[in-house]
Amino acid sequence: MFDLTGKTALVTGATGGIGGAIAQALHAQGATVAISGTRREVLDGFAAKLGERVHVLPCNLSSKDDVEALVPAAEAAMGQVDILIANAGITRDNLFVQLRDEDWDDVIAVNLTATFRLARAATKLMMRKRFGRIIAITSIVGVTGNPGQANYTASKAGIIGLIKTLGAEYAKRGVTANCIAPGFIKTPMTDALNEKQRDTILAKVPAARLGTPEDIAAAAVYLASNEASYVTGQTIHVNGGMAMI
């Protein structure tokens, strides 16, 4: 089950905790992966670790030109893009009344608009081949809201709507579109929390632990597989029971 031999995947934000784990898991299932991120050296190091079937495609998702060049570059490198993992995301947290226009615009541009542009380019390739998997990493807070994150939560909720429409439009063409909504996952982002913040969060998680990037990667492998061909427009919540939706 979940064999991805012969499949090609483009993963954005592959230098991050979750993106890296997803790229590694898809690769372990046999997929060829194109890993994207802003830090070339980190990508090169990661590629060396993966060995074969890997391509490095640096990209700054806040640049429209970079975004529009990414899917064609992945197609040129791998011959096709069967799986798109739209994972890259940024935060610029502030209280709502103090949220600056730039911080709103930057977060929407990288998290939502870049996801739209990448998914649009990838879907064009996928519909021709009558196979495709668009997987966007959203967040639990895109559904529940979170103080201090109006821009981030709006971008993540926007992704969920985008993916539902995409799923509906291309279902007949063998292209599925789904979201994964992580809860609190152990990454550099959550490592920055102090002990008190961490305890407060864990008190709300029935599983009583932070999730791991591998917990998210397992969901991505499933959604990318042939076995998930009847699953589209969904958001899979991977959050230890923190929110049951």
């Binding site: 064009k124 519909m127 021709r128 439009e169 291309y170 007949k172 063409r173």
Partner: protein
């Protein structure tokens, strides 16, 4: 039918899965051949690929029948 007309017809038959005899110049993709709006986008993409040319959105909107496509491509085809 012109050579380009024959190639257009072949693409339409393949993409829409319709009987070749229904694919006449006057046939409307949507009204006569059962295409939905996404099918017409796919047809335009297939024409672009087959004939090596770009079909801008405003031109694509005027391509409603098999004959429209053939006429456009006779003028604009590069391959």
């Amino acid at each position: 039918m012109s050579e380009i007309g024959e190639r257009v017809k072949k693409i339409v038959v393949e993409h829409l899965g319709v009987e070749p005899e229904k694919v006449v110049d006057s046939a409307s993709f949507i009204d006569d051949l059962g295409a939905d709006s996404l099918d017409t986008v796919e047809l335009v993409m297939a024409f672009e690929e087959e004939f090596g040319c770009e079909i801008p959105d405003d031109a694509a909107e005027t391509i409603l029948t098999v004959g429209d496509a053939t006429k456009f491509l006779e003028k604009n085809a590069k391959s």
